[in-house]
Symmetry: none
Subunit: 198 residues, 2 copies
Amino acid sequence: MGAPKQKWTPEEEAALKAGVLKHGTGKWRTILSDPQFSSVLKSRSNVDLKDKWRNISVTALWGSRKKAKLALRKTLPAPPKQDHTNNTTSLSIVPLANGQERTNPTSPGGSGAGSLQTHASKRSITSLDRIILEAITNLKEPRGSDRTSIFMYIEENFKTPPNMKRNVAVRLKHLSSNGPLVKIKHKYRFSTNFTSVG
Amino acid sequence: MGAPKQKWTPEEEAALKAGVLKHGTGKWRTILSDPQFSSVLKSRSNVDLKDKWRNISVTALWGSRKKAKLALRKTLPAPPKQDHTNNTTSLSIVPLANGQERTNPTSPGGSGAGSLQTHASKRSITSLDRIILEAITNLKEPRGSDRTSIFMYIEENFKTPPNMKRNVAVRLKHLSSNGPLVKIKHKYRFSTNFTSVG
DNA sequence: CGGTAGGGATAGGGTTCT
DNA sequence: TAGAACCCTATCCCTACC
């Protein structure tokens, strides 16, 4: 039993990401020796960096899937008024019907690529905003989520038009200046993150 | 669709306790592989062992500190926020190195895993020390544990001789003056607590 | 030996069932 | 509501291979 468990702080994680950007993956000892990161990561070993990077990669790839589970679970809690603490904006929302996002093979009627009626073309702006908020909520990143994560979440969970990223970027700007989102800038972060406020 | 909840039998629980005595906590796979216990625990996974041990410990903790905990919660409605960075207790250290803590393989002949023949009369001092450290570790009390909690933990988890308390008290004194334990005096506490240090 | 990649085990937080 | 059993996965450990 070494240390009970040393959770990675957002600072450390940011430093690791920045380190990988600078030196590349697999250069754990190099990152650790870089004075730019050594102070933040002083309590980590090269192996720790490797493990953490693996974990980050895995969760990034996976991205959504857990959303499906969350959605399923949200449908059960009956007590409607349950609004504990400061759940900022929309409490969980189910974007796609549970069953539907499954590959939904055997789509009767055959090919019709159009069978996926969930085209964003049908969504209004406010709907996009809602999706953004949902993404941030479900991504559950303690420090908020950056654009890329938000994009990926939406891509994985919705049928998106080619200009989705641009639209999302626009809405993010709007939501963080007039709306319920907040930008988070961090010393070692290369990108701005967004989180929701109450 | 999960398993129909397999309740732990007294035999399994006894085997688990004996396994922890022999190999220490956190050695779940080792315990499971030990032919002395594997037959009894063959339907359990290492994770099951870990979970069961946790339940046992929690029960012991509640048995000993229930009132204090409740009192604390009433007084401090706000739960402690995350305290990463320098977790005081987290750096807890391996009191006895994994490798050497291995008790002498001369496990008392009792073959049946179900028998807890672990009467302290046969235990060496170091073994008692290990149990004390284990108690403190598993009690997980953020400010260390006092004598009474330690006594109760041991009583609930091990077969003990009548003079256990005295022996434990003696060992606590020793461990905190020459060993890996530290006494903690708290402003509003009546008794001295003990915790382990690196 | 020092370092990295992978596989596997453990620790803790959550969830489900009773 | 609580307790026991079980699940999820971040973190940590071990080993093979340079």
